[in-house]
């Protein structure tokens, strides 16, 4: 990342867009304390990103999901509840609701090592939401998720944002970004090339993305067909 400078208003959803390797996940790692920036700084919910207290303020869906193969879906949520100081009964209630919303009830007793990618992603997302954080950092929350659950996640994120939780998410699914984000940040090669509220975009997200960030390869595979 180079010279990144932006602010996300409380209670809004910021979508960070960019091709693979542009620096989106690096940005998420730095803003959540997973990676120390070599220079510069940032504050999240009035807390410096180097401050260990940040961990109790944010919910994170990391790029590699950071799940344990030897724990089940439910056990991940129990672990999260326990270390965030939530009572067992409250953890169980929240876990049940999250598993219902994310359509993961059928896999609640499955070991992560035996889960599909979508189930793992839903588990990591549930773990990020369970402690009721003040800010959410979601790296590719819709990738590998079925459309019905994607829509449920979108609705939930809009609802939590209205209740004052700030959300930063990265995504490749431009049509979803168009429907969820309040603010759009586009990154190319570690630099921010666009940052504005979605209402101030001169044209559609997809069109602007193809103009500013990358365009699709158009080579014809003549040997096919």
């Amino acid at each position: 990342m180079e010279s990144a400078n932006f602010e996300i208003p409380r209670g809004s959803i910021c979508a960070v867009l960019g091709p693979n390797g542009a620096g989106k996940s690096t940005m998420v790692k730095m803003l959540t304390g997973l990676l120390a920036p070599s220079s510069g700084g940032a504050t999240v919910c009035d807390c410096d990103i180097r401050d260990p207290k940040l961990r109790s303020l944010v919910g994170v869906l990391p790029e590699n999901l950071a799940l344990f193969d030897a724990l089940t879906v439910t056990e991940h949520l129990q672990l999260t509840g326990a270390v965030f100081g939530i009572s067992q009964a409250e953890t169980a209630t929240r876990a049940d609701q999250l598993l219902r919303v994310l359509r993961l009830e059928h896999g609640r007793d499955t070991f992560i090592g035996e889960c599909s990618y979508g189930m793992k992603k839903k588990t990591a997302l549930a773990a990020a939401l369970l402690p009721n954080p003040r800010a959410l950092f979601l790296d590719e929350p819709f990738e590998g998720i079925d459309p019905v659950t994607s829509e449920a996640i979108r609705v939930q994120l809009r609802a939590v944002a209205q209740r004052g939780i700030t959300v930063l998410l990265t995504s490749h699914i431009l049509s979803m970004v168009d429907r969820i984000a309040d603010q759009i940040v586009m990154i190319r090669q570690g630099r921010i090339v666009w940052n504005s509220p979605i209402g101030e975009l001169p044209r559609g997200v997809e069109e602007l993305y193809f103009d500013l960030v990358e365009s699709a390869a158009t080579e014809d595979l003549a040997w096919l067909g």
């Binding site: 260990p52 961990r55 999901l65 799940l67 724990l71 999260t80 965030f84 070991f111």
Partner: protein, 341 residues
């Protein structure tokens, strides 16, 4: 000539599948190199200076390796992929037959056949087939059966972390060396066998050596999950304490019928030294021996296990107090590394 060309062309898909299975088997075999990072392996080599003494320990290692080695080579091809490939029934039958010879158990049996004799080779093949049949039956008839579900989570903030570490330890081969040593020694004593007074503490310390390498890779056992520690609002020492407590509980079960004070203190020393590797935690594989480094960490661990174990036997409480103090300091000092960037 034309017939040969047709045969080669017809066999090409089967040969391609077998080549892929062979490559996968070879790579899996290489994963058993993890044993060269295991403290117990070096202890056996040391004992092998007197070959007759090493026979028993070598047998234990061999017996444990036999289970993962006896897996069906063709299972390395995902079943969906097998169904998608355009091979007919006859071709699959040929692939199935030839693939058996890609099993390391068959190679070992072949080696034994030529070097030792047919009787042992035959026995090895039967044991290998039986081991495979047992694991296949479990997967086929009870796919949801998993003993790991029965591992309890102690109460408290880090109870789930302890359960996690127990499950991770129990899916490596290390604790089973200790278990076999403990069971054979206990069985021998129950059968009326006499052991020297010094023998039990020594065997107990050998059990500690058998699991000591996993004290070098406490976080490496977590794989990608290790990153989650940096997302949890816990102090590093709390995470490390949960892992150490899980390790010590397993160790206590293994040494309980043998000798406790000296070996338990020796185990604390192994953990203290193992903590120094927290910044380099290679991911560990399931159903293999854990793999750390022999020099200097493994060597220091083995030296400390026997030196401190004997110190406790001779001087008692002084060595226990010093070791506990060193362990507590390392818990605090190295705990910071678990959650640092």
């Amino acid at each position: 000539m034309a017939g040969l060309t047709t045969l080669v062309r017809r066999a090409a898909p089967s040969v391609a599948v077998l080549r892929a299975v062979g490559l996968a088997s070879y790579r899996e075999l290489r994963s058993f190199q993890s044993i060269t990072g295991q403290n117990f392996f070096y202890l056996v080599l040391l004992i092998a200076l007197q070959p007759e003494s090493a026979y028993f320990f070598g047998l234990i290692v061999g017996a444990l390796l036999f289970f993962p080695l006896s897996s069906d080579p063709l299972e390395k091809v995902p079943s969906e992929r097998r169904k998608l490939w355009p091979l007919d029934r006859a071709e699959w039958a040929a692939v199935r037959t030839v693939s058996l010879f890609l099993s390391p158990v068959i190679w070992i049996a072949g080696f034994v056949l030529f070097r030792v004799g047919w009787r042992l080779a035959y026995q090895l093949t039967v044991i290998g087939l039986a081991a495979h049949a047992v694991s296949y039956s479990f997967r086929r008839w009870a796919p949801r059966f998993n003993l790991m579900r029965m591992v309890p989570a102690p109460p408290g903030v880090t109870g789930q972390l302890m359960r996690l570490h127990w499950r991770e330890m129990l899916t490596t081969l290390d604790p089973y060396i200790g278990l076999l040593l403990m069971l054979t020694t206990t069985g021998y004593r129950l059968a009326g066998g006499k052991l020297d007074a010094e023998a039990l503490p020594i065997i107990s310390m050998v059990v500690v050596v058998a699991i000591s390498t996993s004290a070098q890779v406490l976080v490496g056992l977590d794989g990608a999950g290790a990153q989650r520690y940096r997302l949890l609002p816990l102090q590093g020492w709390q995470i490390l304490l949960a892992k150490d407590a899980a390790f010590l509980a397993v160790m206590l079960i293994l040494i309980a019928p043998l000798e406790i004070p000296a070996s338990f203190t020796a185990g604390l020393a192994a953990l203290t030294i193992g903590h120094s590797r927290l910044e380099e935690q290679p991911a560990q594989q399931r159903w293999r021996f854990t793999s750390g480094v022999m020099w200097p960490t493994g060597a220091f661990q083995m030296f400390a296990i026997f030196a401190i174990g004997n110190g406790v036997l001779k001087f008692g409480i002084l060595f226990i107090v010093l070791t506990v103090a060193a362990w507590l300091i390392s818990l605090w000092w190295y705990g910071r590394k678990v959650v640092s960037n």
